[in-house]
Symmetry: C2
Subunit: 400 residues, 2 copies
């Protein structure tokens, strides 16, 4: 059976039609002006109304994907869900979605729910891709659903909420295909964010620790990703080899910091992607211990400024939906990917997108996609058209 270029054939996305502007939230919360818009880098936050939850959002997005790409439900052989929004402690979200397939008599669909904070969707995606590449693959499509509603107790984390569901169809000959060999993970036992109060929707979150963990995991994944690439390809890898860098986005400011951190990594690894002027300016930070480097505001600010011109090209196109919707937990990274596809689909063929998935607790993976236009209905153009981001954003009801 043909099994080349396994990856994402099609995408669709649902997010609540209700949102609040971060500017209005600043006023409501009595926060200083710019705290959420500049401090966090966020524009709006979507939220579920009383008739929506992760189940309804995922039912909607799966039905919509099947319809819009004209996929017979019988052609799905695997369905996996990534989520950290617990509606039931035993029954998986996947079983709810089986309602859509039972009508067609297709009950032979492997997969359940994968869970670890914001990372579950990536686990589900990698599982689905492995299934297509494995000996048991029977030629049918995989389907991955990332669905979450992120809500926080009153306080500094509350403006980092959000909600969405994303569905992705998986198979061979994909326009968004995996470069399997360079995948690198960093997994560790940390309490940066967790949900020990089972009766509450709210997490316990240590914002500062969580941010450091995120950057440490990013460093570790990037180091290993580069090492694996270099071993196989025989050339140095640097951010100049990535056309786009897509990060899990709890809030945009951390994405800005993350890209700057990759730039600092490239400087420390003496990559030619860092120009001489930048090398000079970063030299004073070369001897920091890694712990010191996570804490240095000067390094953070300096590297962000130096990487700004590259950020605008390689990262900014991915930030549209995360800035407009907020943290979507498992859906966040794929909403950022959807933003790139939507914004840049006409020029993506032959390009590489490097992805960084992070879930507190913690689990993280860096991996990359190679893009090609593909064949209708599984083409970048059609995915961008189905996503229809501008219309969806414009039709929202904005609470003020």
């Amino acid at each position: 059976m043909e099994c080349k270029d396994v990856g994402i054939l099609a995408m669709d996305m649902y997010f609540p039609p209700t949102c609040v502007q971060q500017e209005a939230l600043e006023v409501h919360d009595g926060a200083s002006k710019g705290k959420y818009t500049i401090g966090l880098g966020q524009d709006c936050m979507a939220f579920c109304s009383e008739v929506e939850d992760v189940i309804s959002m995922s039912l909607t997005v799966v039905k919509s994907l099947l319809e819009k790409y004209h996929i017979d439900p019988k052609l799905i052989g695997r369905l996996e869900v990534g989520s950290e929004t617990v509606i039931d402690k035993s029954k998986s979200i996947k079983t709810w979605l089986m309602q859509i397939f039972e009508e067609s008599g297709n009950t032979d669909i492997e997969g359940v729910d994968s869970s670890n904070a914001c990372y579950g969707g990536t686990a589900a995606l990698l599982n689905c891709v492995n299934w297509v590449e494995s000996r048991c693959w029977d030629g049918r499509y995989g389907l991955v659903v990332c669905t979450d509603s992120a809500v926080y107790a009153e306080g500094p984390a509350r403006p980092t909420g959000g909600a969405a569901a994303i569905a992705m169809l998986i198979g061979p000959n994909a326009p968004i295909s995996f470069e399997s060999k360079y995948r690198a993970s960093h997994m560790a036992h940390v309490y940066d964010f967790y949900k020990p109060d089972l009766a509450s929707e709210y997490p316990v979150v240590d914002g500062k620790l969580s941010q450091t963990c995120y950057l440490m995991a990013l460093d570790s994944c990037y180091r290993q990703y580069c090492a694996k690439y270099e071993k196989l390809v025989g050339e140095q890898f640097s951010i100049s080899d990535a056309d786009y860098c897509v990060f899990h986005s709890p809030y945009n400011k951390l994405v800005q910091k993350s890209f700057a951190r990759l730039y600092f990594n490239d400087f420390m690894r003496n990559c030619s992607s860092v120009d001489n002027d930048a090398k000079e300016k970063l030299q004073p930070f070369a001897n920091l211990t890694s712990e010191e480097s996570y804490q240095s505001r000067d390094l953070e600010k300096g590297s962000q400024q130096l990487a700004k011109h590259l950020y605008d090209i390689k990262v900014q196109p991915s930030t549209l939906l995360p800035k407009q919707i907020g943290n979507m937990y498992t859906a966040s990274l794929y909403a950022a990917l959807a933003s790139v596809i939507y914004n840049k689909h006409a020029s993506l063929s032959g390009q590489r997108i490097v992805m960084f998935s992070y879930g507190s607790g913690l689990t993280s993976t860096m991996f990359s996609f190679k893009l090609n236009e593909g064949q209708h209905p599984f083409s970048l153009t059609n995915i961008a058209s189905v996503l229809d981001v501008t219309a969806k954003l414009e039709s929202r009801h904005v609470e003020s």
Copy 2:
């Protein structure tokens, strides 16, 4: 890279050293004599003491497996956990287990937790096997952990509790290898068992519905398993082609019913494995609708009697640990597999074990293993010796 016969290379198991005899529980609960021992078919029920939980059990079993098979922690490339015992709504059990690997500097280990009732362990196992067979496999081992503590509110379900953790090492050239092509699943949206009260450990369970769902799922998986086998092999499949049938065991009585149900399926499909005497005796049930067939006590009793001689050979060796420990949720099916390996390791080479995994809600898969003695330390003999079941059972503290 060599990638033949992917499956289970090694197993280890931990269960609490404390248990209660079902006979004593009958007296304590004021239940009629034999209600739990004959009615449920159970001997003992293990339970966690106040210093044990799913995390401690899984830490213990993973450390033990690595030590007993002399596996360098650096050689693990994937670690997945199946569980429905929620300790935290966000942080996966997998992250706790990373403590074991961080010491060796190995943080590049993919995988998170898979969850749907008792089925999560099977999802984790299939994911790990697919990973080894996929293009991204880097030659390292996978590790699957099934861990649960099953506790019920006072009432008829309470004696069906139990607790255990099982670890399985995954890789090529395995003594217990997958027959990937015949895998069949049945997935549906049902409320036979769920845990909607997030603050409680206890499930909401409809015992009668759950049993019917289990048997319906079994029928559906078996039908599809046979169809896939017959399409590929060109011969009819019947239980005579399985040397052992291993079922998820919430309580032993359901396992007895399940095997009889497969026998009835073989009768309905006119298989030669059903002798003429049995065909005559089952004829009166041939025209029942499937709904009627699930409700017929006469059919249940009759088919159990007719299948009894085969049950003793093909199923009974798998029932040791589930009868002695109780329902272990995700670990239950693999404790039954461990029982077969322990009891029959010397005669398993060349044989086929058919497995049926069920998780309420519902998710289910039937699949099969081919066995060979393997090479030390990954041999059936060594697995049986590491499992050391008799000594573990004999050293238990029995509450009476």
